[in-house]
Each structure stands twice: as C-alpha cells, then as structure tokens.
C-alpha cells in the first residue's frame, strides 16, 4: 500500500513537470495548426480556432513543390549534426582520457585554457572565423560546418568526459593492462564502454548544438541545397513581418527527429550499464 502511494506521488510530480514542459509548446502547436491566427488571445488554454495543416505544408515545402529540397535539407541537418556528434566525441574522448589519467607538460594550462574559451562571448569572433574557414577552403561545405560545430562543442565534451572517466575505477584498466593490453587498447575496450552514458550525453549535446544552430550555418553556406533546417526556418522571419504559422510548424517538425532519436537511444544508454561492467 505504502509503495502505491509513493508511486502515485512520483507520477503526480512527473506529470506536473511534463505539463510545465509542454504548456508553452502548446502555444507553438496552436499557432502551427491554426489556419488564420490565434484569435485575440487572453485565454489560458490554447486551441486552434480552425484546425489546418496548411502551415506544415508551407514549412515542409509541400505547398510550393519544394518538398524534395526540404528532404535534402533535413538530410543535411541529420548528417551535419550526426557527424558533429561523432567527430566531437571522437576528438574529445582521447583528450579527456589523457587529461583524466596521464600527467603531461601543459595539462593544467590546457585545462584552464579550455575553460577560458567558454568565458569569451562570441560577439566579435564571427568575422575572423569566416576568414579562417575560407582559408581552409571549408566555406559552403557541410564539412566546414561539421568542423566548426565540433570545435565549439569540444570544451564541454572534454570536461564532461574527463569527469566521467575519473569516476571509473582505475583498477579496470590496470587489470586489462596486466592481461597484456596496451594503454590505448585498455582505453578503447574497457574505459569507453564503461563511460557509455557520458559518451551518449556528450554526443547528444554536440548533436543538439549543431541541430539548432542558425547564424553560422546561414553565414557559411551559400547554396540552398546545402542549408540546414534552422536556416530554412529562419527564412520565415522577415524584416517587417514574420510568418509565424509556418515558423511554428517548422519548429515542431525540426524537434521531432530529436525526440525520436532521444527516445530510441535513452533506453540502452541511461539504464545503469556501469553496474555490470564494474562487477564484470
């Protein structure tokens, strides 16, 4: 009986949190599904006056015969964000491992340097970044976006992974190395699997930062076929007026893949993997 009451309390709290998380999105949904605006407002529970999917048709190009282009841009977003997630974790993991486990000259300076990069607002750095990427012949290429996004996701990824690696008992690697594995093999085959939740969160973070980024993508890419979805979305905001309906519809479309990916990935990535590997 006591268990039931407890479970009920937990569910009530969580449902409350979900409502809190969903409520503003309800407004976005209402705008997205409304054919002709919201009405005058001044009410608590939003609902479209005239339900319609026309905004989704406009946002995805189905209304203007550009749906092939939209699919292509969706694929761009997925590849760029996916590649960013993989590349940033691939670069960050060894660096974080070295920072967690090895002693080397410049370690402390490197760590504080990494932290310092996050403290500097990017207000004046867009022009120099454009210049550097153009020198590297990375303008107007998805690879350029991937490289730029990965680099900017690195500091967080390294800190996050370093902390996760430090939480893993050293004995695990030492056992593997006693068995004849090199340090690198021990890192790949013992440490990385044990840190899978942290790797997943780091990858998710990099994915999300690339998925929603707009200014850099709009600045670096100069062909519509190379645009990512946030750039396409932002086109609905003009200087004098904005098409909120399609913008809201597009935002919903953009957020669905993220939630699908998260739903599929979380089950295996957040459910106590370490318990097994520590004991094993």
């Amino acid at each position: 009986m006591k268990q039931h009451v407890k479970a009920l309390a937990v569910h009530t709290l969580l449902v409350g949190a979900v409502l809190y998380a969903l409520y503003p999105v309800l407004w976005v949904l209402t705008v997205a599904f409304s054919r002709d605006g919201l009405g005058e407002g001044g009410f608590v529970l939003p609902w479209p006056r005239h339900m319609s999917c026309v905004n989704f048709a406009i946002a995805t190009g189905a209304g203007t015969g550009k749906s092939a282009l939209f699919i292509r841009q969706l694929v761009n977003s997925l590849t760029v964000s996916g590649a960013t997630a993989i590349l940033s974790v691939a670069i960050a993991a060894p660096a974080a491992y070295a920072l967690a486990r090895m002693q080397f000259v410049g370690k402390r300076a490197g760590l504080s340097g990494l932290m310092l990069t996050q403290m500097f607002p990017t207000v004046a750095s867009a022009v120099p970044l454009y210049f550097i990427l153009s020198q590297l012949h990375l303008l107007d290429r998805r690879a350029g976006l991937v490289v730029a996004y990965s680099a900017s996701a690195l500091p967080f990824a390294i800190f996050q992974l370093k902390a996760a690696f430090e939480a893993i008992p050293v004995e695990l690697e030492e056992a593997a190395m006693v068995d004849g594995a090199t340090r690198f093999v021990a890192f790949v085959s013992v440490v990385l699997p044990a840190a899978r939740p942290a790797l997943a969160i780091t990858a998710l973070f990099a994915f999300m930062s690339a998925w929603n980024e707009f200014v850099l993508a709009a600045t670096l890419m100069s062909r519509e076929e190379a645009f990512t979805l946030p750039v396409v979305l932002q086109r609905f905001v003009g200087e004098h007026s904005a098409a909120w309906g399609p913008f809201a519809a597009g935002s919903i479309v953009v957020s669905i893949p993220v939630m699908v990916i998260f739903y599929i990935a979380q089950k295996q990535l957040l459910s106590g993997l370490t318990a097994g590997s520590v004991k094993g």
Binding site: A7, V10, V18, Y20, A21, L22, V25, D36, G37, G39, G41, I91, A92, A98, Q103, F104, T117, Q118, M119, P121, T122, V123, A124, S125, V127, P128, L129, Y130, F131, I132, L136, L138, D140, R142, V147, S152, L154, P155, F159, Q160, A164, I168, F184, A200, F205, N212, F214, A218, S222, R223, E224, A226, R235, V237, S255, F262, Q266, K267, L270, L273
Partner: protein, 723 residues
C-alpha cells in the same frame, strides 16, 4: 589499434569530407542573393528562369534569412565569395558603400533611366554627385488597412477614425511602441528622427506633440498598449481591430475571411503636415567584383525593366512608374500601397539612423506607460532619450599605435620571463615524457586553437580599435576607459557597466540554481528503478530543449503580454490584478528567468541522469542495509558521488548563462529601459544598433571574459582554502 592510426584515420576522414562537395563557378554565371519569400520569391525565380532561357546565362539564386543577411553579405563580399548582385533596403546603402562592398551601378541604372522609376526611388539610389549605387526595384512602407465590415467609409482623419466606438473592438491597432510606426506622427508635427549633421531629431515641440498624441490614443483605449507586430495582425484577423497600420507583408498573410481595404494614412487634424510613414526602397546592388562584368549589369537591367515589373507587380510594389500608369489588373491593395509609398518619406541612409531607434523607442515607451500625462514627464523622457543618443555616439578616440606596440612588446617580454623562470629543469625531459599523452590531446588542441581560440583572439584585438569595419582607427585602451567610467555618467546609472554587471550576476545565480534544482529532482525521480513509463517521461521532459528556442522564447513573450497573455489570463481567473510584466524591472526580470529556466532544465536533467548511472548500486544497497533513510542515502552517498561529475556541467552552465543573450533579447528586449539587459546583450547593442561600434562591443566581450576568469580563479582559491 594504435593511437597514431586513429589520428591518421580521423584526418583522412576530415580531408575526405572536405574534398567531397566541391563547387565550380563557370563563366557567364551570376549569383543573386535576396531575402524574399512567398510570392515575391516566386516572381523573382520566374524572371530568372526566363532570363536564363533567353540569354544562356546561368543564374544562381539564394534566399538568405533576413537575420543573417547583412553580416553574411559583408563577410562574403570581402572574401570575394558572395553574390554578384543582391537585393537590399536602400537605408543600408551608406554603410555598404563606405565599407567598399559595392560597385557603381551607372551601367545598370544610367541617367537616361531616371524617369522610368518613381522619383522618390530614383533619388535614393544616387548619391549627391549623381553616381548610381543601386537600381530601384521595389517600395516597402506602411499604410492603413481597414476591415470593411466594420469601417464602411474611411474617415478623413486619424482622430475621426479612433472616435468610432465598437463593442470590444479597437478602432485602431498599431505597434505603438515601435519608432518605425510612430514616425508618421512625428513627421506630421514637423519632426524628423535624425536631424542635420547626424544630430538627434527626436527633440522639441514635434517630438513632444507626437508622443502626447500617441499617449492619448492609448490612454483613451482606442489603441491597444504594447502590441507587437504579431499581436496587431492577430487582432485584425480575429476582427478585434477595425483598422491597423501595416505593410504588404501583413496583407499577403491575411485569411480570406477578413474583408479589407488599404488606404494611405489619413491626416491628423491637429497637425499641419501629412503623417508620412517611413519608406524603404529595395535596390539591386552590384557587389564590388561585378564592376568589370557587363553581364551582371545587363541582368540587373533586365530584372528592373518595365517588362519584368509586369511580373513582379503581382507580388510587390514595383518602383517602375509606368507600371502604375497602365490600367492592367493590379491587385487593388498593391495600388494603394504604391499610392501610400509616394506619400512617404525615404529613410535616411546615414549610419547614425540606426542608432536613433533605441532612444526614440525608450522615450515612447516611457511616455506611454507613465502613470500621469503631465508635460513634465514627457519632457523628462525626451531629455533622457536625447542624453542616451548622445552618450552612445562613438567617441573620437585615437591613440598612438607606437605606445600600444611598446605595451604589447613589454607584455610579451614579461610573459616570456615568467615562462622561463617557471620552466623547471625537468621541463625538457618532462616534455619528452609527455609525447605519449600528446598523441591523445593533439587533435583537440589543434581544433580548439584554430577554430575557437584564434577567432576569439582576433575579436579581442578589435577592442583596441574604434570606428566601423573598414574604418577602424587605433584607440588604445580608450574603449575600456569609456566603459569602466560609465562614459562619464553615474557609475550605477541605467545601462552603466557596473549596474549591468549586477543584473548579470543575479541572472546567472538564479538561473543556475533553478536549473540544477529542477534538473536534479527530475533526474532522481526518473532514476527510480521501478518507475513505469520512464522513457515517455524522459522524452517529454526534453521537449524544451528539442524545440528551437527562438520560437519558444517568443511564445513566452506572448504569454507575458499584459492584456492578451496567458499568464495574466490565469491571474484574472484567480481574481488577481493583471500585471504589466515588462514595465518594471522585477517582473520583466522574472519573465526572462522563467523563460530561461524552462529552456535550460532539460540539459541539466540529462547530464544528471547520465551521472546517476555512474553511482554504484552496491554502495547504495550497503547504505540501505545499514538502515539509511532515502534522504540520508541521497545526501551522504549519491550526492557526494555525483558532485565531481556535475561540476563541469554546473560551471559551464553558469558561464553560458552569464553570456546567454538571446533570451534577454527575445523576451524582455532589455525592457524597461535596458534595465534587464545583461552584459552580453549590452555588447550586442553596441555592435549592431549603436553606430556599429564593433571595437566597443569587443571591449565588452574582453571585460566579460576578465570577470569570469577572475571569478573562477578566486573560487578555486576559496575551494582550496575551504578544503
């Protein structure tokens, strides 16, 4: 696998990615950029296709989002990567020309063509010497849009229009707090936004009478207070506003159910001049590299020709005067917008024009929201806005570069000495012993240095310069002195560095505390082993992170609207008084915090969920067996084990929140009176709205950096002492 093999493979993949999508630029190829959408874009694409078929030229058309347009243009054209031809508003002509981005357009717009365009449009495309810098293309301005169900005959004055009384319907709705839409009143009373010699125009009798007029409109209940563009449109669509002031963009998105008519703004009875709205003339600009390419001029002539105008006039108000003389079927609302455009005032092309919006809007807001409408309050608001315009002006600071170079050399020398003295005898052997570790960190070091550190450092260097883009002059530490002395104003005055710093610190502390608390509670609840539907909860709870924040931040702004927002509707349901959220610091700040907490808690929750999986189950079980209560288990076992893993997310979260400008920008917009601005949003204002003072903005960035750096140093020292 060996580390070097991995290194090699990563580089190989990177190079493969680089080589994968290459771009070729054939001759006889023209690149055209624009920010149009909808019907205007369709017309442009149709004409381009026709031109390609006629001439064999290939044209690449790119639609760039408006928000990125100007910055993309200038970075791309400077690197010769940009368009050959682009469409933009005439008011940016001045800064584009001064930055050397434009080619003369005398071939595309010869003197003999002047009569072909509306006089008002021809005039803005040429400078004082008669040189053409663009080709007139389209006109954008506002007019009065009336709902013909409610307004049968358009009254002959604004006063008569707002005197109409309806049941719960506003006779007129417009963005009362926008300087752009307020401008007609100012012009009617004989004022200007920007006076001669870049002086501030929103002063004296015209400004006073215009804000008094706007205040009467709002306080009599004829015009809704604090409406933004979206709300004005919403009111009109739902039949809650009989007339609105808006542009062609509003009309093209109206539902068919609303019968409307467009007319030029009726005059003001009490004013002597016509209420001229601002006019924007969209011009075809030739990028500087097109100077030697006659085919680009030919294409520009084609797009702007009277023949092409017949296609374009389906979607926009073309600048070709002959089109309007024809009696062809042109949408009546476009004809009305054209008529209104001819009675409008082109915006100034001066760079200083952009710096007038902020102080003017502050004055309008102050007057519209004041409790009483005595003349003294209006005078005080106007004086304050003029003071702000003056204090935001670029200071003519210049310093001798020699001194700067000496200082730089001295700094480098000191750093070298410190580095040398700190180099222990074991340094070189240590370096050799570190080689193995370097194989692990090398990629990260290179990537971060090249793509993060270098751009930031280059940005930091601009903080020693003043002026805009191509006219930077060395200013030494002038920018820093200016900021740290609050530009000579009171040190804790509104908008001063120190006051903004206090707001920023409060902002950061409250946000991070809420993020961590909510994130941790949810993560702990979601980690209960027997919980059902975990996956669903988790996925629904990351929604605030998944939906693009631009749109949700604006949804929040809408929710906090005084009259039409959901929050006040809820308060009314409970019998409480509605709150005017953005007119005082505390509530505006609370609205910002509410938005940012909502946006940021899922990230913390996910990080903590991950960290919780690293808490060994056996330790918890052991504690359980020892009879620890759940709280004790959390407090003494889980939490200490979590802490080291939370530290990076919390520290970085704090740093990011410190620099989180878009929530402040989108929700409160700094209201009231920039009081809720944080340091970064202040920096952005200097870079983009106040005379484009990049150096000044960069100095802000360096100071923010310095503050965070000092904080982290001290907090580490305190930690060490505490431990």
């Amino acid at each position: 696998m060996k580390p070097w093999l991995i290194a090699f493979l990563t580089f190989a993949v990177a190079i493969g990615l680089v080589a994968s999508d290459c771009k070729t630029a054939p001759k006889n190829h023209i690149v055209l950029w624009h920010a149009y959408r909808g019907a205007e874009e369709q017309a442009l694409l149709e004409l381009t296709a026709r031109y390609e078929a006629q001439t064999g030229t290939t044209v690449e058309v790119l639609a760039v989002p408006f928000l990125a347009y100007a910055s993309k243009l200038s970075s791309a054209i400077e690197r010769e990567q940009g368009p050959d031809l682009f469409i933009d508003a005439h008011e940016r002509l001045g800064s584009y020309r001064d930055d050397g981005l434009l080619a003369r357009a005398d071939d595309a717009f010869p003197k003999s063509d002047i009569p072909r365009y509306d006089t008002i449009a021809s005039a803005v495309a040429r400078d004082e010497d008669g040189t053409a810098w663009g080709v007139p293309f389209a006109l954008k301005g506002v007019a009065l849009i009336v709902n013909t169900n409610l307004v049968k005959d358009v009254p002959d004055s604004i006063e008569a229009l707002v005197k109409q009384r309806y049941d719960r319907i506003y006779p007129l709705a417009y963005e009362a707090e926008s300087a752009y839409v307020h401008a007609p009143w100012l012009h009617a009373f004989g004022g200007t936004m920007l006076g001669p010699d870049d002086s501030y125009g929103f002063v004296g009798e015209p400004a006073r009478r215009s804000v008094a007029f706007a205040r009467r409109l709002v306080s009599s209940g004829a015009v809704p207070a604090g409406a933004d563009g979206a709300l004005v449109k919403q009111l009109f669509e739902s039949g809650k506003a009989a007339a609105i002031i808006g542009g062609p963009g509003v009309v093209s998105e109206l539902p068919l159910s609303v019968p409307y008519r467009v007319v030029p703004l009726p005059p003001l009875h009490e004013a002597s001049l016509r209420p001229e709205p601002f006019l924007t003339v969209e011009l075809l600009f030739l990028a500087q590299r097109s100077a030697t390419r006659p085919e680009v001029s030919a294409f520009a002539r084609f797009l702007a020709s009277d023949d092409s105008a017949k296609t374009r006039v389906r979607a926009q108000v073309v600048a070709n005067s002959s089109t309007w003389r024809n009696t062809d079927a042109i949408a009546p609302h476009l004809r009305a917008f054209h008529e209104a455009a001819l009675a409008s005032r082109p915006m100034s092309t001066r760079v200083a024009m952009r710096a007038t919006w902020e102080p003017v809007e502050q004055a309008i807001r102050a007057v519209l929201r004041a409790q009483s409408d005595d003349a003294a309050a209006i005078d005080a608001a106007l004086a304050e806005s003029a003071r702000r315009f003056e204090s935001a002006k670029p200071r003519a600071t210049s310093a001798s570069p020699a001194r700067g170079l000496t200082a730089l050399a001295a700094t480098l020398f000191v750093i070298a000495i410190i580095a040398y003295r700190n180099t222990k005898p074991r340094f070189w052997s240590g370096l050799r012993a570190s080689a193995g570790a370097y194989a692990y960190v090398m990629h990260a070091a290179i990537a971060v240095f090249l793509l993060v550190v270098l751009p930031l450092a280059a940005g930091a260097v601009t903080s020693f310069f003043s002026g805009s883009r191509n006219h930077m002059t060395y200013a030494g530490i002038g920018n820093y002195v200016d900021i740290l002395t609050a530009r000579g104003g009171p040190l804790l005055g509104y908008g001063s560095f120190y006051r903004t710093l206090l707001v920023t610190v409060g902002w950061t502390l409250i946000n991070v505390a809420c993020h961590v608390t909510i994130g941790l509670c949810l993560a702990v609840l979601l980690s209960r082993p027997l919980l059902r539907a975990k996956g669903i909860y988790r996925t629904l709870l990351i929604i605030p992170w998944a939906v693009p924040s631009y749109v949700t931040a604006l949804a929040y702004k809408g929710m906090f609207h005084q009259q039409f927002g959901a929050v006040n509707a809820l308060l009314r349901n409970f019998g409480a008084q509605p709150v005017s959220w953005f007119s005082q610091f505390s509530t505006a700040f609370a609205a910002n915090v509410a938005t940012n907490v909502w946006l940021g808690f899922p990230f913390m929750m996910v990080v903590m969920l991950g960290a919780l999986t690293n808490v060994p189950k056996d330790v918890l079980e052991a504690a359980d067996i020892d009879g620890a209560t759940p709280w004790q288990r959390f407090r003494h076992v889980t939490f200490p084990l979590l802490l080291p893993q939370l530290a990076p997310a919390v520290v970085l979260g704090a740093v990011w929140t410190f620099n989180m400008f878009n929530v402040v920008f989108l929700v409160s917009g700094g209201e009231p009176d920039n009081q809720t601005d944080i340091l970064v949003s202040e920096a952005y204002r200097w870079a983009f709205t106040r005379h484009a003072q990049y150096g000044y903005a960069a100095a802000y960035a360096v100071l923010i950096f310095g503050i965070l750096w000092l904080t982290s140093r001290f907090s580490r020292r305190w930690q060490r002492e505490g431990a």
